[in-house]
């Protein structure tokens, strides 16, 4: 194969003549093994069956070993112009999963509609899927024109109706071709029965498809797939690995990473066994080393500073989503998602519009789940800010999948980046506090009785920095001064409250959530609640702070302060002098009027 092959997919309801069309394409381009067509025809005659190209396709699939022109999922053929791969979606059961798998790789697609049956629910679903898979070149074939007496009027009506539908989805079909695949009409040559059609036939159309662009002309994007530091053989390199998905870059270029905003300069471009490559362009899997020893995580997007074309950074994404999971997608439930090269946790927080549903009622207000094969426009919220692109800007970083029950169960494209206001957690806390049954004792009543206000004191820092020691001494000091203090070591929760949690990314989220809720309960009692946590980040802190509201948090960090956004109340050096540290915290409590001077 000298020339790069073009891949296209034929999408259509099984009875609309998909196999016939593919069989006919193979036969008319002389792509079948010698004598195959004749032998299948002879077999049909012997068994008094009308020959159909679909039989041919089935027969080929069963004995695929020799011809290499066809297998279960793919058929190969060539025209004078170039080589082709037709991606087929085999079988009836789980048709959609196979179709999506194949169609996602296609450069172009044919949507097949039966002229007699017209536009069915399935034809529409196929349109939605094509729009979600972001296939740019779409041609609609109206098949079985013989059954409607080759009527131009029928063809025009279907075209008008379907085109209106596709346009609404943002798809501009290249053209509509009336055919009778069985008889080869308008496949390789134009049909005498349809002289009113003078445009391209199917083969000409196939040759007219353009190969997918290589994105070299677009702005540079390098989503970090992984970061390697192999030590074997004294290898000192710290290599950012991945695939250049668009643009070009040179060694020496200044780069910036999102969402971390870190900057550095490309030191080397690496493709084993070379490491002195001057420049690399879209399409290649490679590696980069940087001038600075930055801590970059997989899932970040590397861009060129001078191009000033940067991805979105947000926690709220407006998306179009297609769901194919066996279990319904539940609103507000946490799912694992993959976007670009990032794997993270997200949930659907709001359904904006139901585009297509198997349910009859399209009542968005009451909809708390997305059913199998629903297409919806919705808002996805991630646990932490992520970087991504809108699909029209960069498709690679603008499309995502959702995982449920160990499988890819949903896929979609990002159409908008929403502001971080109205985050689900703010909404949740607000509603929780409105619904809360406060009893007859107010917050102020408790403060008056206890002689102090409530507070959540959270001590953070790396392991072994003396957090526990400080926490227990602080608890005792407060207690001896007649304040109601209570310390919990999170290790105590492991076998109790948190017994169901593992160290998966889901459970880390859940751990943080429970910590925040627990703090809310204790601070609600009016006491000074103290605990310590290792290695938590800005977003975890922010979440705990929010969940503890309307009560307040005081964060004491020990050792290196790695928070980029969250400003802690006190920052102490590692293993601090406990008496001194305790005093500093008491000072802070006084300053905030949690405890009052004259009580001491």
């Amino acid at each position: 194969m000298e020339k790069e092959q073009l891949n296209f997919v034929v999408i259509g309801h099984v009875d609309h003549g998909k196999s016939t069309l593919i069989g006919r394409l193979l036969a008319d381009t002389n792509s079948l093994p010698e004598g195959k067509l004749e032998s299948v025809k002879a077999f049909c005659e012997k068994n008094s069956r009308v020959f159909e190209y679909a039989f041919l396709l089935d027969a080929l699939k069963e004995e695929q070993a020799q011809g290499i022109t066809i297998d279960a999922a793919r058929c190969f053929f060539k025209t004078q112009k170039r080589d082709y791969m037709i991606i087929d979606a085999p079988g009836h059961t789980e048709f959609i999963k196979n179709m999506i798998t194949g169609a996602a790789k296609a450069d172009a697609c044919f949507i097949l509609i039966d002229a007699k049956e017209g536009i069915q629910k399935n034809s529409k679903r196929h349109g939605y899927i094509v729009s979600l898979l972001d296939i740019k070149q779409v041609v609609v074939i109206i098949n079985k024109m013989d059954l409607v007496n080759y009527s131009k009027e029928v063809f025009d009506n279907i075209q008008k109706e379907y085109n209106e539908f596709l346009t609404n989805l943002g798809i501009n079909a290249i053209r509509y071709i009336p055919v009778c695949a069985r008889d080869g009409e308008n496949i390789l040559s134009l049909s005498k029965n349809m002289e009113w059609y003078k445009d391209l036939n199917v083969i000409e159309q196939i040759d007219d498809f353009k190969p997918k662009g290589k994105n070299i002309e677009k702005k540079f994007r390098f989503p970090i797939q992984d970061v390697y530091k192999f030590t074997e053989g004294d290898d000192e390199r710290r290599i950012l690995s991945g695939k250049v998905v668009s643009g070009t870059i040179n060694a020496g270029d200044e780069v910036v990473f999102f969402p971390s905003n870190k900057k550095s300069i490309i030191k080397t471009i690496e493709i084993f066994p070379k490491n002195d490559i001057a420049s690399i362009e879209a399409g290649f899997s490679c590696g980069f080393t940087l001038n600075d020893p930055l801590y970059i995580k997989s899932g970040e997007i590397m861009c060129k500073t001078k191009e000033q074309s940067f991805p979105q950074v947000s926690r709220r994404l407006k998306v179009n989503l297609f769901w194919m999971g066996e279990a319904n997608l539940l609103i507000e439930k946490s799912y694992k998602i993959k976007i670009g090269t990032l794997e993270t946790i997200a949930k659907v927080t709001e359904i904006i519009n139901i585009v297509d549903s198997s349910e009859l009622s399209n009542n968005i207000e009451k909809k708390t789940q997305i059913n199998k094969y629903d297409v919806v426009q919705c808002v996805i919220e991630t646990a932490k800010p992520i970087s991504f692109d809108l699909v029209q800007d960069h498709h690679y970083t603008g499309r995502f999948v959702i995982i449920d029950n160990f499988e890819i169960a949903g896929c979609g494209i990002v159409t908008g980046s929403l502001s971080n206001e109205n985050l689900a957690i703010d909404q949740y806390v607000k509603e929780r506090e409105i619904k809360w049954d406060f009893g007859l004792i107010s917050r102020e009543d408790r403060a008056k009785r206890f002689g102090h206000k409530s507070k959540f004191i959270l001590i953070t820092g790396k392991k072994g920095t003396g957090k526990r020691e400080l926490a227990i001494r602080l608890e005792k000091k407060l207690f001896e001064s007649n304040y109601n203090s209570y310390y919990i070591n999170v290790a105590n929760l492991t076998d109790g409250l948190d017994v169901d949690l593992s160290d998966s990314i889901f459970d880390k989220e859940e751990f943080v959530r429970r910590m925040g809720e627990l703090a809310r309960l204790f601070t609600g009692c009016g006491i000074i609640f103290i605990t310590a946590l290792d290695d938590i980040d800005d977003y975890d802190l922010e979440k705990i702070k929010k969940l503890n509201m309307p009560y307040e948090i005081l964060v004491v960090n020990i050792g290196e302060n790695n928070y980029e956004k969250f400003s802690v109340n006190l920052n102490l050096q590692a293993n601090p002098n406990i008496n001194l540290a305790t005093e500093l915290i008491l000072e802070e409590l006084k300053k905030q009027e949690i405890i009052l001077e004259y009580y001491l």
Binding site: Q64, A65, T93, K97, A104, Q225, Y228, E407
Partner: protein
């Protein structure tokens, strides 16, 4: 960027995802010493910048053509591979093999390959690991099961392989549910699996026989000399155990000549595995073997 460069970039991406999601779950790569899995091995060196951060696993039937084992150990030492082999020692001891005329070809394949593979991966049977200082294999004390296995199969080799996904789950009993496989969309693979399952990763699915040879040429990858005609007008097109593998008629003496032979279509009507006798027994021999855990 040409076809070979695109295939290389895709395969490297898949290998890196395999490592990303399975490095903590015991990842290994099968190396049959054949041309495809040797290309895969080379791609892994590219993916990880000269390192191969997981062990290579070979199933030794002890009926392999002797040059294959020599080639394996030479490359393993040269490229500093973490090399492991496994075998069905019981079947070999009791001579339950086709060459010993105790069982038919397919049963022999099942014993010496499928069963050996299954139990070597699960860690139930003894593994042997190459000691690079002693330059020989010693009994491996490690018995943890491999939960991710990278395999160099290609979709165009044979019918059942064309139904494969890049990341494909196998149940505890190595079963493969062909009819209901999860979708793979865009650059995303299924990398989550329930306990007890293991996953097979197939980075070479989209490669053809010709692609493999063109890549071998482009990157100057060492392959075993059995693929070339040594003057008798015969060469192996697909490698296996000597009692069941026969060479084809061909006078291709080097990589260039093989590429020429494939391009001119001389072999177009002969299946690549036509020299592999087990495929021909019992109708769809390979499909049955594959359902049972064969690669």
């Amino acid at each position: 960027m040409d076809r070979i460069e695109r295939l290389e970039a895709e395969s490297i991406f898949i290998l890196r995802d395999a490592y990303k999601y399975f490095k903590t779950k015991n990842l290994g790569m099968l190396w049959s010493i054949g041309k495809d899995s040797t290309v895969l091995l080379y791609l892994a060196r590219k993916a990880f910048f000269g390192h191969i951060p997981f062990p290579l696993v070979h199933i030794d039937t002890h009926y392999k053509i002797p040059e294959m084992i020599e080639f394996r150990d030479k490359i393993a030492l040269e490229w500093k591979l973490d090399m492991i082999y496994g075998e069905n020692s019981e079947a070999l001891q009791k001579k339950y093999t086709f060459p010993d005329q105790k069982v038919d070809r397919l049963t022999c394949c099942k014993y010496l390959k499928s069963d050996a593979l299954k139990h070597t991966l699960s860690g139930e049977w003894q593994r042997y690991r190459l000691d690079h200082n002693l330059k020989k294999y010693i009994k491996d004390a490690k018995t943890d099961p491999f939960n991710g296995v990278i395999v160099g199969i290609r979709a165009d080799e044979e019918g059942s392989r064309s139904k494969e996904r890049c990341f494909s789950p196998r149940s505890e009993n190595n079963e493969w549910n062909v009819g209901d496989q999860p979708p793979e969309v865009w650059q995303y693979f299924n990398t989550d699996f329930p306990k007890g399952c293991h996953i097979r990763i197939h980075p070479l699915l989209d490669w053809t026989e010709l692609d493999i040879w063109e890549y071998i040429k482009k990157e100057n990858i060492p392959v075993i000399s059995l693929y070339f005609d040594q003057g008798q007008g015969k060469r192996y097109r697909s490698l296996g155990c000597y009692p069941c593998t026969t060479p084809i008629n061909s006078i291709s003496k080097n990589v260039d000549e093989i590429i020429e032979e494939l391009k001119t279509g001389k072999l177009a009507n002969i299946a690549e595995r036509s020299g592999r006798a087990q495929d021909k027994e019992d109708g769809g021999g390979l499909e049955n073997l594959r359902r049972d855990g064969y690669m």
